[in-house]
């Protein structure tokens, strides 16, 4: 999958650095892992949530256009930061149907950074702004 990673990305452009800054909660640079120029979105059902440091990860089964189940691994912000923004661990639950938007990882086809996680009623879980 490294073919997804063009050599030129070794030197990050300013926009990527800016995105890194706002997305990664200081633990790591965004562009060391995710490609801001490779957006992705999908709809599916949450199968697991890891409320752990340094980042919250959640897992979603989505069905692709060929009818195959795709297992997505999605990183979001640091759990301590989410708490201080007013979010609780159970604001996202196993079984929830979600629409996820974000950027794909360089390394792997089904790993991504989740910028927006939206529930069917339109609520955006784990967003930057507290509820």
């Amino acid at each position: 999958m490294n073919a997804r990673y063009p050599a030129r990305v070794g030197i990050a452009v300013t926009s990527l650095v800016l995105l890194a800054a706002t997305s990664a909660s200081a633990h790591h640079s965004f562009s060391g892992q995710f490609n801001a120029d490779d957006p992705v979105s999908f709809e599916g059902v949450v199968t697991r949530i890891e409320w752990q440091n340094p980042h919250v990860w959640f897992y979603v089964d989505a069905v692709d256009e060929d009818g195959n189940v795709v297992h997505w691994e999605a990183e979001t912000t640091n759990p301590n930061t989410l708490l201080r923004r007013g979010w609780k661990p159970d604001d996202l639950k196993v079984g929830d149907r979600v629409t996820v938007e974000g950027a794909r990882a360089f390394c792997c086809e089904n790993v991504m950074n989740a910028r927006n996680v939206t529930l069917p009623d339109g609520r955006r879980v784990f967003s930057r702004d507290a509820r």
């Binding site: 990673y5 070794g10 800054a21 790591h28 060391g32 201080r84 661990p89």
Partner: protein, 242 residues
């Protein structure tokens, strides 16, 4: 016989790894917030820094200072060739005594007459500044956090740090430095609930001149939370380092 022993060792190793994985998976980050503990009054006659403080997150210092860092040729080459997947804190390595004040995570300051101690939520780290009049050791070891001594002037604590290794990044954007870096950090108590913080970076190998960044600390609404970086650092498997 030898093959059999070897196989058993392997099985034991696999079991150990499986146990470790299970333990890691069961760990949880904090799930609730608390108010900070009451701040004890600091030593008499000194500006009082005791308390839990929210700091300003500055990942991209170039944006903050309105232009590039004043790099020497060596520093510029390091900047141009930086690899974003090699950010040390991404691997749970220490931030060092500078970057830690420009993260999204609060800091507790515990002040006595002879020492100022910083407890950092970021990666669950601490740092000590000696204010008892001692000097730096000579020679000084090159370490992640260096050796810090402080003195008071008016409403300010002025901290001088040497003995830093060259393994940290100063900012998430990828600002690196040599082991000749000397930090000067000024903590000025501008009112009961505010500290003006100015850090100056002096590194003749990486920077053509000393340069500074100023930010503000305010009283934190919440106490420090546990932050165990190795709890579930799945990022390591994803970093691009080529």
């Amino acid at each position: 016989m030898r093959a059999s022993r070897s196989g058993r060792r392997c099985a034991v190793a696999v079991a150990a790894v499986a146990t470790l994985a299970a333990a890691a998976a069961s760990g949880q980050a904090p799930r609730q917030l608390a108010a900070p503990p009451p701040a004890d009054p600091g030593p008499e006659g000194l500006p009082d820094f005791n308390g839990v403080w929210a700091v300003e997150y500055i990942p991209n210092v170039e944006q903050r200072i309105g232009g590039p860092v004043p790099y020497t040729e060596v520093g510029q080459e390091a900047w141009d060739n930086r690899v974003m997947g090699e950010d040390p804190t991404g691997y749970c390595q220490p931030s060092g005594p500078s970057r830690v004040f420009h993260t999204p995570f609060p800091v507790q300051i515990i002040q006595t007459e002879s020492q100022v101690s910083f407890l950092f939520e970021m990666l669950h780290m601490y740092h000590r500044v000696f204010t008892d009049g001692r000097d730096h050791p000579n020679p000084v070891d090159k370490t992640w956090w260096g050796h810090s001594i402080g003195r008071y002037e008016g409403n300010s604590l002025i901290v001088d740090t040497v003995g830093l290794n060259d393994r940290t990044w100063l900012y998430t954007s990828g600002v690196q430095h040599s082991d000749q870096l000397q930090l000067t950090q000024v903590f000025e108590k501008t009112d009961p609930d505010t500290i003006r913080y100015t850090v100056t970076y002096d590194d003749p190998v990486f920077f053509t001149e000393p340069w500074s960044v100023t930010s503000e600390f305010t009283r934190s609404e919440y106490d420090l939370l546990e932050f165990i970086c190795t709890e579930n650092n799945r990022d390591i498997a994803h970093f691009i380092t080529e």
